[in-house]
């Protein structure tokens, strides 16, 4: 299953000719995507193959799918591969047929809604379904019958009186999955929304961040509900009594305003692309397996409790969240098998890639960002796999990468993020790669060059220009290094760094002003600013630039080695920078220089008096 999803992906050479044929199909069919109302396109189906619930796939499935890409489709929906191939019309027809017919299967018996509700409650309480067993039923691939039957034991659920005459087909009521012993405290407005969905026989879950925030007892701002209703049904249910925001409806998402909260309600979606339409699906499990990390796959239903098929809660505590890719262990095992040579190499893909990274490379940058912001740790194998497959991020638009990277740089644990994700950083700034194992052979540089760089970024004030300058400040060093045996010299590295960093920033897409400031700081990063002479520097560069330079140098010095002395020097430079902020920043550089310099003289006196 880790092939074929990613058109143009060269990380997975495991799929052979067949897989490539599939990619071809994928591309052809993607044109049809727009035609469908709900994304149930042929293409969508095919993509769903990629989104096959991971827990459903046996060990062999990962490889099998490369050769039999539609096996899953055929099993679940009974469609023929041929249906998708040429005839778009036929394809769409069958899709609509599927939607239209579905409720007829499920809603055959006639009962009143009250009776139904009562029975459901009773049913639920009397026979709480062990979720794992339930899934096991779904997993039965040999069953050869539509999953809908297995997954919806209540297919005899009665027809409910349609709340809106316009909507003829009543949906199937599923028993929500979960462990009813674990309940969370959900705010009333959210409960009301969920109750209303339930009253219309839809199964709804709270998912995503809100669940684990409630679980660890944090304040929740955004609630996300997913359910098995299509967007226009959701709209129909809510628009009469609630204010509904529909600006995200292209992604299938509606925002219900209730009790002063904006509550997001969406259908189950097995895929959300950045641009294209989402692909809807029918079960919470399919919705979950589009998600990347186990912490995102905890769902909650007020009746059935927490549903946690991937054991996401084990990664969440009040202290920290560990981001762990779904089925991490499985992929780790595959990789171990390959490296141990237990299985023949050709049976295994050349490179182990966790599929959700392939489907959603942004998740790698998201993880890096969360780490940088101190919101999460990354599970070791997930981290390794991300670094191994760093090339995936080249599929993200450059300006998108830059947006993520900006946030990564500004995080309070930016140094950790840079050190734990070196391969990602080297994809974005290839010129930093040589720094990784670069030993400066110096008494006053304790770390390898890359570690020094990363630490410098981490020590700096959270200013984008300063941190970007620190990231690139040593770019010229490897080129200018002259090894003299016991030590090294780096004459001219600042100028060389400006050249290299200039090219790199252009590639990266930095704007002109940022580039200008960053190059300025790199050029002067070894300039020697002291309490005695910094008035001359402000004369030369202006107060603002001198301030940036001081902030940059302060972090750079501190990152050289773990040393009390460096910290003192760093603190003095930082103090100078802060003083400039206090006295000179309003003047903004050159316009009121006289006043500025008066201010600075005062500071020098102050520092002298304090013996600094």
């Amino acid at each position: 299953m880790n092939s074929g999803i990613a058109a143009g992906d060269d990380y997975n050479k495991g799929g052979d000719v067949l897989a490539r044929r599939e990619i071809g199909l994928d591309l052809v069919l993607s044109d049809d995507n727009e035609e469908d109302d709900y994304g149930y396109t042929g293409n969508g189906r095919k993509n769903k193959e990629g989104d096959l619930p991971k827990h459903l796939s046996g060990d062999q499935h990962a490889y099998k799918s490369a050769f039999d890409p539609y096996a899953y489709l055929n099993r679940e929906y009974g469609y023929d591969e041929d249906d998708y191939d040429d005839d778009t019309d036929a394809d769409e027809k069958s899709v609509h047929k599927y939607i239209a017919e579905e409720p007829i299967i499920t809603g055959s018996a006639e009962r009143t809604s009250a009776e139904t509700k009562a029975e459901q409650v009773q049913d639920h309480e009397a026979v709480p379904e062990p979720p794992m067993q339930d899934m096991a039923e779904q997993e039965e691939p040999a069953a050869g019958q539509p999953v809908s039957e297995a997954a919806e034991p209540e297919k005899t659920a009665p027809e409910q009186p349609a709340p809106k005459a316009a909507e003829p087909e009543p949906p199937a009521m599923e028993t929500p999955k979960g462990d009813s012993s674990r309940k969370l405290d959900v705010p009333k407005p959210v409960l009301e929304v969920m109750e209303l969905l339930k009253a219309h026989y839809y199964t709804a879950y709270l998912v995503g961040e809100c669940v684990y925030l409630m679980y660890i007892g944090e304040r929740v701002m955004d609630f996300d509900i997913v359910c098995n209703a299509e967007p226009d049904r959701i709209l129909a249910i809510f628009e009469r009594n609630f204010k509904v925001r529909t600006d995200q409806i292209d992604r299938g998402e509606l925002i219900i305003i209730n009790g002063g909260m904006g509550i997001s309600v969406s259908p189950f979606r097995s895929r959300i692309d950045g641009s294209g339409k989402p692909i809807y699906c029918r079960t919470i499990d399919e919705d979950m397996c589009r998600r990347t990390f186990t912490s995102e796959t905890v769902a909650y239903n007020p009746d059935s409790g927490i549903y946690d098929p991937y054991d996401g809660l084990s990664c969440i505590t009040a202290e920290k969240t560990v981001l762990k890719a779904i089925d991490e262990e499985k992929y780790e095992e595959i990789e171990r098998e390959r490296s141990s040579g237990k299985r023949k190499k050709r049976e295994l893909p050349e490179k182990t890639v966790i599929p959700s990274f392939q489907e959603n490379p942004e998740s790698i940058l998201t993880a890096m960002m969360k780490l940088s912001r101190g919101e999460a740790e990354i599970s070791p194998y997930t981290l390794k796999n991300m670094n191994d497959n760093a090339g995936l991020i080249e599929r993200i638009m450059p300006d998108e990468i830059a947006r993520y990277f900006r946030r990564i740089l500004l995080g309070r644990r930016a140094a950790d993020a840079l050190l734990q994700f070196p391969e990602i950083v080297f994809r974005i700034f290839p010129l930093l790669r040589v720094q990784q194992n670069f030993d400066q052979k110096s008494d006053y540089q304790e770390y390898t060059l890359y570690e020094h760089t990363a630490r410098a970024v981490g020590y700096a004030v959270p200013d984008y220009q300063v941190r970007l300058a620190l990231l690139l400040h040593a770019a010229g060093k490897p080129d200018c290094a002259a090894d003299r045996g016991d030590y090294m010299t780096f004459y001219g590295h600042a100028e060389r760094g400006v050249m290299l960093a200039g090219d790199a920033l252009e590639e990266y897409g930095a704007d002109t002003r940022t580039t200008e400031k960053v190059l300025f700081m790199i050029k002067h990063h070894d300039d020697h600013i002291t309490p005695d002479n910094f008035i001359e520097f402000t004369d030369m560069f202006g107060a603002e630039d001198t301030r940036l330079l001081l902030l940059m140098q302060s972090a750079n010095i501190r990152a050289k080695s773990h040393d009390e002395l460096n910290e003192r020097v760093s603190a003095v430079l930082r103090q100078l920078a802060d003083q400039i902020t206090a006295t000179a920043a309003p003047a903004r550089a050159r316009t009121k220089r006289t006043a500025t310099i008066e201010g600075l003289r005062g500071i020098t006196d102050l520092l002298n008096r304090n013996g600094i």
Binding site: S442, D443, Y444, R484, D486, Y487, T489, H528, I529, T530, P531, D532, N533, I557, D563, E564, L565, N566, R568, V569, V572, L573, L607, N608, G611, I612
Partner: protein, 287 residues
């Protein structure tokens, strides 16, 4: 309060006199030098070699002792506490301990390494407001087991190091640490002039002040030397006075064994020597 040597040396250079650096070894030394400086209203630099620092239980002890003495003796003349012939590590340790002036001696290193390490320290010292002395070319004499015969520094190298922005520069001009041999040809004023021409305003330092004839010292001062290091001479007079005390049997009389009595003649001898040197250097009354 301890001050950087920068101001006092710049003044000395402009006023054509030299500030003495007197090395300290223990409490008596320190007290004698500080009291003499205060008496003569002379700025003074207290030198501590790494060995002496170790002997005095580490740099922090030294800083504590000197600061305490400045306070309790009511010393008002400028006093700099200076690391003499420091290694790179020693220099950092002294900065951390609170020295106000540092000498980094990279003269035994390849010039480029000396240059690189001096650069690093220049940055640090400047930011922290400390004075930094650098050395180019070995000065003769026995210094960590290396014996030279009054070597002279290369003026070009002096210029390169001076341009880094050090506060003062020690350059070999045929001087030697310790006692001078019989056949010593005297200071090389040609070298001194050449160096001075290259480094411009930079205050120069003359190491090995013991035993250089007074007229040569005065000439060196007139050519730009602003700091002169004295160590051995104080040791010699201390030893001489103490030996006399013992030989006269005074330690056996009454309470003559009391260290405060036993060390007193040596203490007075140091005071006399320091006074004599300050008068020669011309720093008396310049504080």
């Amino acid at each position: 309060m301890l001050v950087s040597a920068k101001d006092m040396l710049n003044k000395a250079r402009d006023g054509k006199y030299a500030v003495g650096q007197f090395n300290i070894n223990n409490l008596e030394w320190t007290k004698a030098i500080l009291l003499t400086a205060q008496e003569l209203k002379s700025p003074v630099i207290l030198g501590v070699s790494e060995g002496a620092g170790k002997y005095m239980c580490g740099y922090k002890t030294v800083v504590g002792m000197v600061n305490g003495m400045i306070d309790s003796l009511g010393i008002t003349v400028p006093v700099a506490l200076h690391l003499d012939h420091g290694t790179f590590e020693g220099a950092k340790a002294c900065i951390n301990a609170g020295f106000s002036s540092i000498m980094f001696d990279g003269s035994h290193l390849p010039f480029e390494e000396n240059f690189a390490k001096t650069t690093a320290l220049v940055n640090t010292c400047d930011v922290l407001g400390l004075s930094l002395e650098a050395e180019v070319g070995a000065i003769g004499g026995e210094e960590d087991g290396v014996v030279g015969m009054g070597e002279c520094a290369d003026p070009e190298e002096c210029k390169k190091i001076a341009d880094l922005g050090v506060t003062m520069l020690a350059a070999g001009i045929g001087n030697i640490h310790g006692k001078y041999p019989e056949n010593w040809p005297g200071l090389s004023f040609e070298t001194l002039e050449a160096i001075k021409a290259k480094v411009g305003d930079m205050p120069l330092v003359l190491h090995g002040g013991t035993g250089i004839p007074d007229d040569q010292i005065k000439k060196a001062i007139s050519l730009g030397v602003a700091k002169i290091n004295v160590n051995t001479e104080c040791q010699l007079v201390f030893q001489e006075a103490t030996r006399k005390y013992i030989e006269a049997g005074k330690d056996l009389e009454g309470k003559g064994f009391d260290p405060r009595k036993l060390l007193a003649p040596g203490f007075e001898a140091i005071k006399a020597k320091v006074k004599e040197k300050m008068e020669i250097f011309g720093s008396v009354g310049k504080a």
